[in-house]
Symmetry: C2
């Protein structure tokens, strides 16, 4: 064996990678035995297993994932599609998906749609082409046509949506209770004495923004505040949008005394507009954002916001995917997991402390 080994040791210096065939040759056993030994199959003796593992180490053997994936029909790869990774929310969701899936031997391929429908379709094609075993996604703002997502389902590949989902699409979903979150915000602002509460929201067609808008309207009704159409604005919720829409609100004859913005980024823009116009926050106008991005705690005044439990969403999404891989029965009830969000009150809406 030693002679055979030393012959193979030379191989280390060449480019060619070590395969189980090499190990089999060194030990003069079949490749099947090697494969089984590496997987601790019960039909291989301890002695052989030990020898195989030793040789594998010596030859610096690295299993060929492609080969086993092809044979087993499983790539052990999960695709993740997010609008962008550069928000703390998505970055944290991804981190937690990765953590849970890595433990089970899965790797993730992260792709960004940049909020573009076309890019999202490309991403889906790419992931299907790469033979991922499942897809976890949060939809782009633009997306209305669900054909591509249907395609995933049609192929029998588990699809789990989080945060940005769609009511029409019959898939697993993990998100927070947007409707209730709006209620919490409005209630808080009412408690602060606000009477004219505006909402800079996202577009109604997107499930989460629709829910936030409905929650906002129903909450106003509940607290006997009149619903004024000029106080409800739809937008893309970028920083620039927040600034622009806030300036529009400030032009109204009857200004709002509070603004609830459906995204922290837009809230940051709105805050800049308020500062530019020398309007005191929260005394003149109170401000609440959404998402609890770290910077909300760092700007002056700090911005009240809704914590979306990003870590929890990531973990649950991964778990739902794993449940598909474990259960043999194809028929499985869909998971619709709605987490309760938490309102974090900061300076921008707290008139008591100041």
């Amino acid at each position: 064996m030693l002679k055979r080994l030393s012959k193979y040791i030379k191989k280390l210096n060449t480019k060619k990678k070590t395969t189980i065939k090499d190990i089999a040759n060194v030990l003069n056993i079949s490749i099947a035995a090697v494969s089984k030994a590496l997987h601790d199959d019960s039909r291989i003796s301890k002695k052989t297993k030990k020898a195989v593992k030793q040789v594998a180490k010596n030859l610096n053997y690295q299993p060929n994932h492609l080969a086993s994936a092809l044979r087993k029909g499983k790539s052990k790869l999960v695709g993740v599609i997010v609008p962008r990774t550069n928000s703390n929310f998505f970055s944290s969701v991804i981190e937690n998906i990765e953590e849970v899936l890595n433990k089970e031997g899965y790797n993730i391929i992260i792709t960004q749609s940049n909020e573009s429908f076309k890019k999202e379709c490309d991403n889906i094609n790419t992931l299907l082409f790469t033979q991922v075993d499942g897809i976890i996604a949060s939809m782009a703002n633009e997306t209305i046509d669900l054909e591509y997502f249907e395609k995933i389902k049609a192929k029998g590949i588990p699809l789990i949506l989080f945060d940005r989902g769609e009511n029409d699409l019959n898939v697993d979903y993990i998100g927070i209770n947007d409707y209730d979150s709006s209620h919490k915000i409005v209630e808080h602002l009412v408690n602060q004495g606000c009477k004219r509460i505006a909402h800079i929201g996202g577009f109604k067609r997107t499930r989460i923004y629709n829910n936030r808008i409905r929650g906002y309207m129903d909450a106003l009704k509940k607290h006997n505040l009149p619903l004024d159409n000029e106080l409800l604005i739809e937008s893309n919720l970028t920083i620039a949008d927040g600034k622009e829409k806030m300036l529009e609100l400030l032009k109204l004859k009857k200004r709002p005394d509070a603004v609830y913005v459906a995204s922290d980024y837009a809230a940051l823009g709105a805050l800049q507009a308020l500062k530019d116009k020398n309007i005191k926050v929260p005394q003149d106008i109170a401000l609440v954002g959404f998402g609890d991005e770290p910077f909300t705690a760092l700007v002056t005044p700090s911005i009240s916001s809704i914590n979306q439990h990003s870590a929890e969403i990531g973990k649950q999404a991964a778990q739902v995917f794993l449940s598909y891989t474990k259960v043999k029965s194809v028929k499985q009830t869909l998971n619709k997991i709605i987490l309760e969000a938490k309102l974090v009150i900061r300076e921008s809406s707290n008139t008591n402390i100041i």
Copy 2:
């Protein structure tokens, strides 16, 4: 053919995926012909090509990437390792790497080290296991032991580092000129009339932070400013670190009149500390950050910073990788690409405008 096709059309409803074998059966030709037709091989007639593509479409054929990757020995996957995706810098670099590589048929697998050496090693193992064709990485702060990176090189897999690299490691590198950037900052501060310039930097062992520190010291010398050791602080450069180290600087008997922080995040923390202590920025103390993260333009006062050309870095890194796949000759000179950074002057260091 129609009869055969309709027989196969049923297959669409089953789980089994369509393969080139199915297409071959429908048209009664060999699978080799199908493979060639799909790749527009010159030895296949136009008629056959057309027929093959039509049937492929009808059967909803999707090439099995694993099979072709195994056969060709190329996974068409590139691994990307970054400390975290949630800064604009890394997110932008990644976006641009992806854009360039996608055009050439490559996909990327993004992994995060979370600045942990152990996680980084795990990431490398994972990527090697997944048979990536190359790795583009920015090292974790913690990393000193380069063994794992050597391993990549040893396997003959192209390794390209960006931003956080290492002088000792003989690999391709793309980054900005940190040394010069420090010079630009110091020069600017001197022009603003500052005479006691402090530096909250990263750890010297990391190449980029070392260069920034050296640049800072040499620039002081050049402008005949004394180098005071208590004005040079090493840290991890988190937001909290920035705040803490700034408070330390404020405790000095002889306070600085300007602080150059080696990261925007730490600069943000520093700014909070200054605000808490009611110190006017830039009048009492001027502040400059590093990285040109979007929030630097949005806080009050806005923070001057260094733009690192993230898009350019991403594109170049991808190009360097591609150069390995195209050139046959193994011997290739290493690329060390150093981009010139740009100082963006904002309120935090601009005494003229105020």
